[in-house]
């Protein structure tokens, strides 16, 4: 009997065949659903379980100074990692690694015994050692090229530039502020793990995210910065001060050429310093400006026309009562002109001028000069300082503001305000980043000079400058700030610090400052030097003045600014201790000293003759102006014994 003969059996077999066919079709459809329709969802899920991602620090753009010198660069270094589960002989491996890495064997062994699938043994080692480790070919040990931030100038502009952390993320300064621009694309390694969390492959660094790397070009001049730091360091050391800042600004543009802070730190090893040492004090710290503010009192009063340089005030012989309080001057003065008040920095004189101007007007002018408000420079944690508004100010507080007590300012505000006098009355917006450049060299973002506002007229600015120039003269408080060959102007300041314990002005802690510009007729540089808590002599002119002079003269030479006064020798007017340091730069040494006798009268002589006679007497002669001598200091006939320097002023014969 054949099955062919049984129709119903055939039919049932056909049914079974259909059942199988349907079964296979179902399975095919299900497979299609899983493999094609739900592919992405399942794949992503699958990936998340077997892929581990190790993020590598991104590359960073270079930070250049204005001349193209590198201030912060990225260099390639090696980083040693391990897949601990793949290391067979952990003891042997750790001892071989410790030899090369100069690390404790026990530390490495501990890492190798860790349970995680990936550990860094040591990051950012020099390529040489990395190569050695690679050559060992140890199981489960690998080397990846990473990028490390390096600051070739070490301390140079460290406070401004800041530094980065171990993942190359900006932590301080410009590195943090411009992190978005500097930081390149993030790189990551994808390592795959089996279900026992053992890695079986590690990828090459893959860029993730589309961050673009940019370079920064700063307005800083590395050489000026270096000079500013060096001069400041010297001054802080000499005066045994706590700290100091110095800013050099181009008054016409508002570009910061140097921003120095002492004590310094080396950003390559930033972690060895304390956080307060990282701070860019020029913008983050406020202090009372003291007499420096009188420059702006002068500017405001002249602009308002309430006084002129020759207006006379009674300086009350150094004691002046405001209500119950007494304001004192360091020297007793009688009746003085406005220019003399500024020159000698009389507080009482300043109050008298201020009273004529009015507190409210002065307050407004200070605001116009940018005090009490952030300058808007693109730096971390800028402070805005404080001026007491007219309605809150008591009478004594109003009076003290005229000589800079009871308000606070940052160094940057002060230097920018001084720049406004220097450049003919315009308050400029300070900036440190000239341009942001992408990898192909295209400028992405550019900063140019920006005038915030005009504060005073050009004419007033010129008049103020002329009076401030007298501050730097021999009679002025800022004599030590003079720069031979150039006409400099500025204002000294010495302010008492508020003792945080007693909440009163301290008798021993001062801030000495000097803000000035040079050359007077066409200022190229505005320089501010602030010395925090100098010991010994605390006067701004004596402590901070030399920094101005030192940095100024060096910079002018560096910038090839022609001296306005020819045939001038630099005066040896510094203190004895400074002579050894500074004298080296003096071009002409005076002839051997003549002992005894009186100082001749140089008046009416030409420059050449004055020089000749002065040098024959062994004197340093400082010349000022052109034409015939009309004034000299010390006066003719004074003892030559005590005199080392004669300052002679010339004017064209009339």
């Amino acid at each position: 009997m054949k099955i062919k003969e049984k129709k119903w059996i055939r039919f049932r077999i056909y049914l079974v065949a259909v059942f199988f066919l349907l079964g296979f079709l179902t399975v095919l459809a299900r497979s299609f659903q899983l493999q094609v329709l739900e592919k992405n969802r399942l794949k992503t899920f699958a990936r998340s379980s077997y892929e581990g991602i190790i993020k590598l620090p991104p590359k960073r753009g270079t930070i250049y100074d204005r001349k193209g010198h590198e201030l912060a660069i990225s260099i390639e270094v090696g980083s040693v990692y391990s897949h601990p589960k793949r290391v067979k002989n952990k003891v042997k491996t750790s001892s071989r690694l410790s030899q090369i890495l100069k690390e404790k064997k026990s530390r490495i062994l501990k890492l190798l015994k860790s349970k995680s699938s990936f550990v860094w043994i040591k990051r950012k080692i020099d390529p040489d050692r990395a190569r050695k480790i690679k050559a060992l070919g140890l199981d489960g040990i690998g080397v990846i090229t990473e990028v490390r931030r390096c600051y070739p100038g070490r301390e140079i502009a460290a406070h401004l530039i800041g530094f980065v952390g171990s993942e190359n993320q900006g932590l301080e300064g410009l590195e943090k502020k411009y992190d978005n621009f500097l930081s390149g694309p993030q790189y990551s390694l994808i390592h795959m793990l089996d279900a026992k969390r053992r890695p079986f492959s590690i990828s090459r660094p893959i860029p993730s995210g589309n961050g673009k790397m940019h370079d920064l070009i700063l307005t800083i001049d590395k050489d000026i910065q270096y000079k500013a730091q060096q001069a400041l360091r010297l001054a802080v050391k000499k005066t045994r001060a706590r700290a100091g800042h110095c800013i050099v600004v181009n008054p016409d543009t508002g570009e910061i050429l140097a921003m120095a802070v002492v004590p310094e730190f080396n950003p390559n090893i930033f972690f060895r310093y304390k956080p307060y040492q990282w701070r860019n004090r020029t913008v983050t710290d406020c202090f009372e400006p003291g007499s420096t503010i009188k420059a702006f009192l002068l500017a405001a009063s002249l602009e308002k026309g309430v006084v002129n340089p020759n207006t006379r005030f009674d300086c009350e012989q150094g004691k002046y009562k405001i209500g119950t309080k007494t304001v004192r001057d360091t020297h007793k003065h009688g009746i003085m002109s406005v220019s003399e008040i500024i020159m000698h920095s009389s507080n009482i004189g300043a109050i008298k001028i201020g009273q004529k101007l009015g507190y409210g007007t002065f307050y407004n002018y200070l605001q116009q000069f940018g005090f009490g408000k952030k300058t808007g420079i693109n730096l971390m944690s800028e402070r805005k300082g404080f001026i007491r508004p007219p309605k809150d100010a008591k009478k004594i507080e109003q009076a003290t503001l005229f000589f800079g007590q009871g308000m606070t300012t940052t160094s940057l505000q002060l230097v920018m305000a001084m720049a406004a006098i220097a450049n003919g009355g315009k308050l400029m917006r300070p900036y440190v980043v000239k341009a942001v450049v992408d990898e192909s060299g295209r400028v992405v973002k550019e900063t140019g000079p920006e005038m915030v506002r005009r504060v005073i007229s050009r004419r007033t600015a010129g008049r103020v400058a002329n009076i401030l120039e007298k501050v730097v003269s021999n009679e002025g408080t800022g004599a030590k700030a003079c720069i031979s060959g150039f006409r400099a102007a500025g204002k000294t300041g010495t302010s008492q610090k508020v003792d945080p314990k007693t909440r009163r002005y301290s008798r021993s802690k001062y801030v000495a400052s000097f803000a000035g510009f040079v050359p007077v007729d066409r200022p190229r540089l505005v320089i501010l030097a602030v010395i925090d808590e100098p010991r010994g002599i605390t006067y701004g002119g004596i402590v901070a003045g030399p920094v101005f002079s030192d940095v100024g003269s060096w910079c002018l030479n560096y910038l090839r600014v022609d001296p306005q006064l020819r045939l001038v020798e630099k005066g040896v007017n510094q203190g004895e201790t400074e002579r050894s340091n500074i004298q080296k730069t003096v071009v002409c040494r005076p002839a051997p000293r003549v002992k005894g006798g009186a100082l001749p009268d140089f008046r009416g002589l030409g420059m050449r003759d004055v020089l000749k006679r002065g040098r024959s007497l062994g004197l340093t002669v400082l010349l000022k102006g052109t034409g015939l001598a009309y004034k000299q200091d010390p006066r003719p006939g004074s003892s030559i014994k005590k005199t080392t320097m004669v300052k002679v002023c010339f004017r064209p014969p009339t």
């Binding site: 054949k2 077999i13 899983l34 094609v36 089996d194």
Partner: protein
């Protein structure tokens, strides 16, 4: 009749070629799926490949032998094989002889090789059923005369297998018996009655073993417990999904790296899906489909009722195992311990499946 002209006489290429292709593909996938495990566990990444190749070769030899033996000869073997299977299944319960793997003793150790008696049991049942049903002929319509003796024999086997415990094989045998009865002429109400009687028994077994219950829940919603019972099926899904349309390429499967348990045995199809993609899976399914359709065709055109039933029984058994395994790895059925014929690692299953196909080829050559 072209009985003994040569070994290849009347070789049914529609069965032979897909089977050989499946075997080859199976070896490649098996190597890929098992090499890491073999290297880690046994220190020889070729361990499973070597053994499977051995099974394959001996299986093919046995297949060709089975093909050349006249099928009538098998009817004489029926009771002997039935008896041997029964004895082996009972021996499994003697402590020390049964080879236990994760709580189930399904293997017998014979020398260096382990042997799975349930595979032989399935085969001998197929022989017996064909023999018995062909003998009874149209009596199959009567319950006591036709169905009951078969039910008793099959029930005994199923009872022994379910106690190993191996619920998967039991269910397969049950389904297969039902299909056999259906084709053999049983009335539909009789089949429904059998189902009604046996379903509670199976349900009882599921409910009284916590892992089976959990497997059941994992089947209903695997994502509820992705780290526990859902783990295997989820990773099977992930393997399918990762493979996509074209696959990740031979040897590139990630799920085989201990993510997917039983990657070289029950879930080998998932690895194939990951490495060869939807295209590969389609090929495999089509080849299996071809073999099965061809097997049914053989049974339809077989020379007599016995050979017809024999061809049908072997084909249906083979087809059910393939289909259920595929449905399991794709999450259409709850997880059971069932391997994919011709592809999963395992000697007993390989050899016995190939012998079955050999018999099918033999019947085909004598049409």
């Amino acid at each position: 009749m072209a009985d003994k002209k040569s070994l290849n006489a009347g070789l049914d290429y529609m069965i032979f070629v897909p089977v050989i292709l499946l075997l080859c593909m199976g070896l490649v996938i098996l190597y890929s799926a098992s090499s890491q495990l073999a290297a880690d566990k046994l220190g020889d990444s070729y361990f499973y490949l070597k053994r499977q190749t051995l099974f394959c070769v001996s299986g093919i030899v046995l297949m060709m032998t089975a093909k050349s033996i006249p099928y009538r000869f098998y009817s004489k073997l029926t009771y002997a094989l039935l008896g041997i299977s029964l004895v082996l299944l009972i021996i499994l319960f003697i402590p020390g002889l049964g080879y236990e793997v994760s709580g189930a003793s399904r293997w017998l150790r014979l020398g260096g090789l382990s042997f799975q008696p349930s595979e032989l049991a399935k085969f001998s049942l197929a022989l017996y059923m064909a023999y018995s049903m062909a003998k009874k002929g149209s009596d199959m319509g009567f319950f006591t005369l036709g169905l009951l003796p078969n039910l008793i024999i099959a029930g005994t086997f199923m009872g022994l297998i379910i106690l190993e415990p191996d619920l998967g094989t039991t269910v397969i045998i049950g389904l297969w018996i039902l299909i056999f009865f259906f084709v053999g002429g049983a009335r539909l109400y009789q089949l429904v009655l059998i189902l009604i009687v046996f379903t509670p028994i199976v349900a009882w077994f599921i409910l009284h073993a916590e892992y089976r219950l959990k497997r059941w829940w994992a089947f209903i919603n695997p994502w509820n417990d992705p780290q526990g019972f859902g783990f295997q099926i989820i990773h099977s899904f992930l393997a399918f999904g990762s493979g996509g349309f074209f696959g990740v390429g031979l040897g590139n499967s990630k799920q085989k790296l201990y993510y997917l348990p039983e990657a070289h045995t029950d879930f080998i199809l998932s690895i194939a899906a990951e490495e060869l993609g939807y295209i590969g899976i389609t090929c495999i399914i089509c080849m299996f489909g071809l073999v099965i359709m061809r097997g049914i065709k053989v049974s339809l055109s077989a020379p007599d009722l016995y050979s017809s039933y024999l061809a049908f029984g072997l084909t249906a058994l083979f087809g059910l195992q393939v289909l259920i395994n595929m449905a399991v790895v794709m999450g259409l059925l709850p997880t059971k311990g069932l391997s994919l014929p011709l592809i999963s690692y395992g000697g007993s299953s390989m050899v016995i499946n190939l012998i079955g196909i050999g018999i099918l080829l033999g019947i085909s050559s004598r049409r």
